[in-house]
């Protein structure tokens, strides 16, 4: 099974990287660009066929390592 985990900064936490990308896009002439945020996507191959168990494991991984829940939120996607 393959999973994607998205880790992004919580709303309210400043994202200078997203802002820098937004500015750069503006400078390149992409005028319609509004807010930009940057996060991480982690693609994981999982030797697990049960999707409930997989989800539980992934949640555990996020809480323990993949996200710092002081500042980040995460989202899990099985594919």
């Amino acid at each position: 099974m393959k999973a994607r985990v998205f880790v992004t900064l919580k709303n309210g936490v400043l994202d200078p990287q997203g802002k820098a990308i937004g500015n750069a896009l503006h400078n390149l002439g992409f005028a319609s660009v509004g807010d930009v945020r940057q996060g991480k996507v982690i693609e994981i191959e999982l030797g697990e066929s049960d999707s409930t168990r997989a989800k539980a494991q992934l949640k555990d991984m996020c809480e323990k390592l993949l996200a710092n829940t002081v500042i980040e939120k995460y989202e899990i996607e099985l594919r």
């Binding site: 820098a20 500015n23 750069a24 400078n27």
Partner: protein, 731 residues
């Protein structure tokens, strides 16, 4: 099996003649794997086929030299059983395509060259050349290269202590990224790459092999054209974390006596490391690729032999020591595998899945690589300027401010603040001075390091320019009180198949050789990067020189910062007012013209020895050499560094502009207490060294000269804002 057609041969960058020669050496046609192996080993990058004949003219010996060119890095004695190990290398083409990773892997590669010799890296330098500041690619390239160098070096925990940055339109399509690594080893613990003896295990250590940068070595030897950017050959991604582990693991293994030979896998990876080790050891090597740690599925023998995956080493161990070595690498979580054995057959035999996929004489790959006597023409050196052929109408103050804020003279702080220059807690002089000074850990001595070349001089006159690069480097080391020991070079030029470019190469090498001989400053390692041109437009000839010197007592060194109000400024060395190829002429007159300033090597040596003697005696602590921009720029740099004002008084009868901004060579500015003035002048006279009182250290924050006066604040603002402004995204 893939059939070898003339097209395939061409795609491997081999000429018809070269292919014929390969068939002769092999006694048959090579197969595809063998062709691939020949192509990288015989590439310009690995074989130095255009320059080898000329490089022989460089002096490479001296009582201090332990190991000259030919190993992974040069080794020089610094006393007490310590040795300094260093080399410079380019990563120009990859950095243009992917600036962050290109520069990062350049740093990683040169570090491996140094620690593979048994040295712990203690300092990094980087010499960078970018296109015109306003060229659309420049900002992106500067940002990527600088953060790539920092990204790798900072993680390794080796301070990056200096370098050079130049901008010139000639580099628009071909930037230069030259990195230098300096390490320290014990003289009785130097490791070499000769795989001597038969029956010894060949082991692979480090990262797994992937399909990275296959044909990187041939790419580095090919001219760019419009569509190489489209083709975008694969660039390697660096992993400084793994390299740091590799460094520590290698040093731990080296502390045992299990190693016979060791060599990093750089350009042309497994191929060049095994062929070179076998060739140097006069032995043969048999590899079984099935045991190579692989990152990807279905890798072919061709892929594995030509992969340029980073962070890998090849070593030959004493038989029976495999388990001990494996323990060390497992602890550091690195791959370790016995992948072959040394033989006495003189052949490189490669097996894959039970079949012999390559069987070739080791010698044919390295020793028998072609050497070319390429035709060359010496261009007539640019004509000298007439005595009044410069604009003297502009106010001195305006010129000074403009020059201090110009691309080549402005502060490089924006660059070096992104490099950790104080890690390892031995950096005595950080970037910003003439030479970086790094204490040898746990001792009272220090190494001084500088990289130099003035490409516009080399373009105007390759021979004088080559001399000047060495002389300026020697001067920068002398200016901090170091005894210059030896140099590494990085010869960056255009296409050597063009007679004019070849003439630049030959002329510069001759100039370098002349200066190295006269100054007792041998070349112990180096690197050539040719074919730096895009659409037939070559770069400025850029033979970068990296020099290392020794300071015996680290408490006796000098820096550029003015320190005391009331000090006298002394100018050492003759001033004729040479404005040809000067920054003044370019920035104020808007011309790149005239002859390169000549270097009188006898004076150079005399002046440097004199200045160094004063520093070593503990009598002078403030010195700056005079280089780009001339005397007033040097004095201004000293004032800014010390945050104290200074005034320069013109000797009677001299013309302002040539005196203040001429770039005559072999000169230094010293700041000395007035009470010492007479004694120093008398000593200079006795030593036949020109020594002129040219000014004072002020108690007001101004730089004054020829009735001009500019505040330090104004000078600093311009000087410090060029790079931040260039790098700020337009908003």
């Amino acid at each position: 099996m893939i059939e070898i057609t003339p097209k395939i041969v061409r795609e491997h960058g081999l000429s018809e003649d070269e292919y014929g020669r390969i068939k002769e050496l092999m006694g048959r046609a090579p197969n595809y794997v063998e062709l691939g192996i020949f192509s990288v080993m015989w590439s310009e990058h690995c074989s130095y086929k255009s320059t080898r004949a000329h490089l022989r003219r460089l002096p490479t010996t001296g009582p201090q030299v332990i190991q000259g060119p030919g190993e992974n890095a040069g080794v020089v004695d610094i006393g007490d059983g310590d040795a300094v190990v260093f080399k410079m290398e380019s990563h120009n083409h990859p950095s243009f395509i992917e600036p962050y990773q290109g520069a990062a892997t350049g740093v990683g590669g040169i570090m491996r060259d140094v620690f593979t010799m048994g040295a712990r890296p203690v300092a990094m330098m980087n010499a960078l050349r970018f296109g015109a500041p306003d060229h659309p690619k420049t900002r992106h390239l500067v940002a990527g290269v600088v953060s790539g160098i920092g990204g790798y070096g900072n993680c390794m925990g080796v301070p990056t202590v200096g370098g050079e940055v130049n901008f010139h339109a000639a580099y628009n399509g071909n930037i230069l990224v030259n990195a230098m690594c300096v390490g320290v080893a014990r003289t009785d613990k130097i490791f070499k790459s000769a795989a001597e003896g038969a029956g010894n295990p060949v082991v692979y250590i480090g990262s797994k092999t992937g399909r990275d940068g296959i044909h990187g070595a041939t790419m580095a030897s090919a001219e760019f054209n419009e569509d190489s950017e489209e083709k975008r050959p694969t660039v390697q991604v660096g992993d400084p974390f793994t390299e740091k582990l590799l460094l520590e693991a290698c040093l731990e293994l080296m502390a045992t006596d299990a190693i016979i030979a060791i060599q990093d896998m750089g350009a042309a990876g497994l191929t060049s490391s095994s062929a070179e080790m076998g060739s140097k050891g006069g032995s043969g090597i048999e590899l079984d690729l099935d045991h190579v740690p692989q990152r990807e599925a279905n890798m072919t023998a061709y892929d594995m032999m030509l992969s340029e995956s980073q962070e890998r080493m090849l070593a030959v161990l004493k038989p029976g020591r495999e388990a001990e070595a494996e323990r060390i690498f497992k602890k550091w979580e690195l791959d370790f595998a016995v992948i072959g054995i040394t033989t006495n057959t003189g052949r490189l035999i490669v097996k894959h899945k039970g079949e012999v996929v390559a069987d070739m004489p080791v010698h044919a790959l390295s020793e028998d690589a072609p050497v070319y006597q390429r035709p060359f023409t010496h261009r007539t050196p640019a004509a000298a300027l007439g005595p009044d052929d410069f604009d003297s109408s502009k106010p001195i103050a305006d010129s000074l401010v403009k020059m201090m804020s110009s691309a080549d003279l402005a502060s490089r702080r924006w660059v070096w603040e992104q490099y950790d220059h104080s890690v390892m807690a031995d950096t005595v002089q950080a970037p910003g001075g003439d030479a970086a000074v790094v204490r040898v850990h746990g001792t009272n001595k220090a190494l001084a390091i500088s990289t130099d070349v003035t490409p516009r001089y080399v373009r105007a006159d390759p021979f004088e320019g080559g001399k000047q690069a060495v002389a300026e480097c020697w001067r920068n080391l002398s200016a901090v009180g170091a005894t210059p020991l030896a140099v590494t070079d990085n010869l960056n030029f255009g296409n050597p198949e063009r007679a004019e470019t070849m003439g630049e190469i030959v002329g510069a090498i001759d100039g370098i050789a002349a200066a190295c001989i006269a100054l007792g400053f041998p070349v112990v390692s180096g690197n050539c990067s040719l074919y730096n041109e895009t659409n037939g437009e070559p770069i400025l000839p850029t033979p970068a020189i990296g020099g290392v010197g020794l300071i015996r007592d680290v408490t006796r060194t000098a820096s550029v910062a003015l320190k005391r109000f009331g000090d006298v400024l002394l100018l050492i060395g003759d001033t004729k007012g040479h404005l040809g190829q000067s920054i003044y002429l370019r920035e104020i007159d808007g011309r790149e013209a005239g002859s390169a300033p000549p270097v009188d090597l006898t004076h150079e040596k005399r002046n440097g020895d004199f200045v160094r003697g004063l520093i070593e005696a503990g009598r002078v602590d403030t010195v700056h050499d005079v280089s780009d921009g001339g005397l007033l720029v040097a004095v201004t740099e000293m004032a800014l560094a010390g945050n104290i004002g200074a005034s320069v008084a013109l000797p009677v009868g001299v013309k302002k502009v040539p005196f203040l901004f001429g770039e005559d060579q072999g000169r230094y500015v010293l700041s000395v207490p007035a009470a010492d003035l007479d004694r120093i002048r008398a000593e200079a006279r006795a030593a036949k060294v020109s020594c002129v009182d040219i000014g004072r250290v002020l108690n007001t924050p101004f730089v004054e000269a020829a009735s001009a006066s500019v505040s330090l604040a104004v000078l600093r603002k311009g000087h410090e804002s060029f790079l931040p402004q260039l790098m700020r995204a337009p908003s």
